[in-house]
């Protein structure tokens, strides 16, 4: 019987949200939670105005300002005219359409993918969208979360639905024990380096295996966050006790008996035993080492002790072409190691690695140490709440003593849109998710790595292997 067909977690959530399904047409999917920010929403509101319609269900949309806010002097007017205009437009739109906005200075403001989970707005079993590709972050709670374009933002505001075709399903299983100095960022950089920046295109990924089960929610979010960097629509992890414990008591999470009842429902959110995936990949945690990227897409990563590949070592002609182009941009040479390479900036931040756990990891490592002289180090908490927590724990003092600059929350140097830019030609070890040409500022050069590897770079001024320091 069809009804008994084993289902993946993805399918269970999807099927529950189909409002209408018609042959030859995309499914109409109901969206439980919608996040918006200043960059990809203005044109959507414009569209509503042009059509003369209201937001379909105001309770389901939450707004914040993150992409191009300054990370210094947030109480002052934004200096850069265009950024200021976008943030002001968001304010105006939220007021006009009656939406909740966590504006600059609000205790809940922060990077959109950091605040959703920490406020308990992100829950298991939901459908979640935002006009930003790293919406996949929320999938760590066992929901379907993915990035959408501005036309779709308009669809969700207008109808609380979007039109979607069901993607294929992929399972990535990781088993075993992580080695010393290896953290969740290394897991995902390792996977992407193995399957390439387009290796999961067309798929929605479920991460499974005991390595994943043993990770904290923060670490799981880092992995789901970068699903998009291998081309996937999104990634999710079945919820478990770790998930429920994280959600419990959060500001907007269901409380008391409601919460207990939901936990019972959430426990059913897992892939049935014999459910079929279109593709299954398996990795062993012991094979993973601290990782770093050398090129201009996140798939161009190596173990920190490896050499940059040479043309001859790459199979694919298109990979060979992008290698040449990337290395020219990065000012690096094929076949040489990255270890010991002098760097200029360290950026610890972004929706990939700016949660409290990331800041603790860095603080723990740098406690009592000093940054290298020629390096500028920016630590940008993911949200006001992370910032507050960091200060309460005294991490701000550790950073100050080390010569790190702890600034206010925002996307910051993850993308060269606000005031925080890496200057042309400079090297930056970054905990963010993209190393594209110009991503951190025109002609900037990015090495993606974990917060630990970034901390090593900050202290030594070079690309280094964290295992030699712990």
């Amino acid at each position: 019987m069809m009804a008994n067909k084993p289902k993946t977690l993805f399918d269970k959530i999807w099927d529950k949200h189909v409002v209408k399904s018609q042959v030859g047409y995309p499914d109409v999917i109901f969206i439980d939670r919608h996040f918006i920010h200043e960059v990809t929403s203005p044109q959507a509101f414009d569209g509503l105005r042009k059509r003369g319609i209201q937001v379909f269900n105001r309770q389901r949309t939450t707004a914040t300002a993150d992409h191009n806010v300054p990370t210094k002097d947030q109480h002052l007017p934004i200096k850069e005219a265009l950024s200021r205009h976008q943030v002001e437009t968001l304010r105006k739109n939220c007021q006009e359409f009656g939406l909740e906005l966590y504006d600059l200075g609000h205790p809940f403001q922060g990077i959109v993918h950091i605040i959703g989970p920490e406020l308990g707005l992100t829950l298991p079993g939901m459908t979640i969208v935002c006009g930003d590709s790293h919406t996949s972050t929320h999938g760590a709670f066992g929901n379907i979360a993915f990035g959408i374009g501005t036309s779709e933002v308009e669809q969700v505001l207008a109808t609380q639905c979007i039109l979607q075709y069901k993607p294929k399903r992929m399972k990535i299983e990781i088993n075993g024990k992580l080695g010393k100095g290896v953290v969740s960022k290394d897991i995902i950089l390792y996977i992407i380096s193995k399957i390439s920046a387009s290796g999961a295109t067309g798929y929605f990924v479920e991460y499974a295996g005991d390595t994943i089960r043993n990770l904290s929610m923060e670490a799981r979010m880092t992995i789901c966050n970068m699903s998009i960097e291998m081309g996937a629509r999104g990634g999710l992890i079945a919820p478990d006790e770790t998930t429920f414990a994280y959600i419990k008591g959060r500001k907007f999470a269901p409380q008391g008996a409601d919460f207990e009842r939901l936990v019972e429902e959430w426990k059913a959110l897992k892939t049935d035993e014999d459910a079929e995936f279109d593709r299954v990949l398996t990795f062993q945690a012991e094979d993973i080492a601290p990782m770093i990227t050398y090129g201009t897409n996140p798939g161009m990563g190596i173990k920190i002790t490896d050499r940059i590949p040479t043309q001859a070592e790459l199979q694919d002609i298109s990979e060979q072409n992008s290698l040449t182009k990337s290395l020219a941009y990065m000012g690096l040479e094929a076949g040489l190691p990255l270890l010991g390479k002098a760097i200029d900036y360290v950026f610890i931040g972004s929706c990939t690695n700016a949660r409290i756990e990331d800041l603790r990891l860095v603080a723990d490592f740098v406690k009592g140490k000093q940054k290298a002289e020629n390096v500028e180090v920016w630590v940008i908490p993911g949200s006001k709440q992370v910032e507050k927590q960091a200060i309460a724990e005294g991490l701000d003092k550790i950073f100050a003593e080390a010569g790190f600059e702890l600034r206010s929350p925002g996307c910051s140097a993850c993308l060269g849109m606000n005031e925080d830019k890496v200057p042309a030609g400079k090297y930056c070890v970054s905990t963010s998710n993209r190393n594209f040409e110009g991503r951190q500022g025109p002609q900037s050069r990015t090495f993606l790595a974990s917060p630990l590897t970034a901390a090593v770079a900050a202290i030594t001024g070079k690309v280094g292997d964290v295992r030699e320091f712990i």
Binding site: G24, G47, F56, Q86, I148, S151, E152, C161, R434, G438
Partner: protein, 195 residues
């Protein structure tokens, strides 16, 4: 909102034989600050077109030999960020069709939502198109949505996929929201039951 109807397009094409063109190249992040959809064409491929001090570079969009409403690009076009601005920039610049042997998912959806048709051809046909344009930059390419064919002046042609729903939308000039708004009551009912 009703857009232009699009059934058949005949045009010369602009060749961009580069693979993995990501959305940061199509429209660099620093140009995402606008609050309307217009004016992005000026900054299409900005960093490939101009030096930091705004001097034109040797790039195909600066080369008057090539023009047209069709962009022909290497494999994996539109990878990277989900920014829809990439589609707006192409549309605003005047491209109605992008031809490649592979498109990134999100880009494909964004393009279709903005009346830019992504046409997927085989790798060998893509190379043939590049060769034909090289021989004659003014060579005319015909994209026929109704019959789902892309044809070259020399008679060679290939069919391409487009889903029935998008095809109807493009040919009638209506968009996703027009369709979703027509389902308003069903959606309201769903929201009530599931909240």
């Amino acid at each position: 909102m009703a857009k232009d109807k699009f059934v058949i397009l005949k045009s010369s094409a602009v060749p961009l034989p580069i693979e993995n063109v990501d959305t940061d190249q199509i429209i660099p992040a620093r140009f995402l600050k606008a609050t309307t959809r217009e004016g992005f064409g000026e900054n299409l491929f900005r960093d490939w077109r101009y030096t930091p001090d705004n001097q034109p570079k040797d790039f195909v969009l600066n080369n008057s030999t090539y023009s047209g409403k069709i962009l022909v690009a290497g494999k994996n076009f539109g990878c990277g960020s989900s920014r829809e601005h990439a589609a707006w920039a192409l549309h605003d610049f005047g491209f109605k069709v992008v031809v490649s042997s592979f498109f990134a998912d999100i880009f494909k959806g964004n393009a279709l939502n903005n009346s830019v048709l992504p046409v997927v051809v085989s790798e060998s046909f893509l190379q043939t198109i590049f060769t034909e344009i090289e021989k004659n930059p003014q060579t005319e390419i015909t994209v026929d949505i109704e019959n789902q064919t892309i044809s070259l002046a020399n008679g060679q042609s290939e069919t391409f996929e487009i889903n029935a729903y998008k095809k109807t939308c493009l040919m009638n000039g209506y968009d996703d929201i027009d369709y979703l708004l027509s389902l308003n009551e069903e959606i309201r009912a769903f929201d009530l039951v599931n909240s």
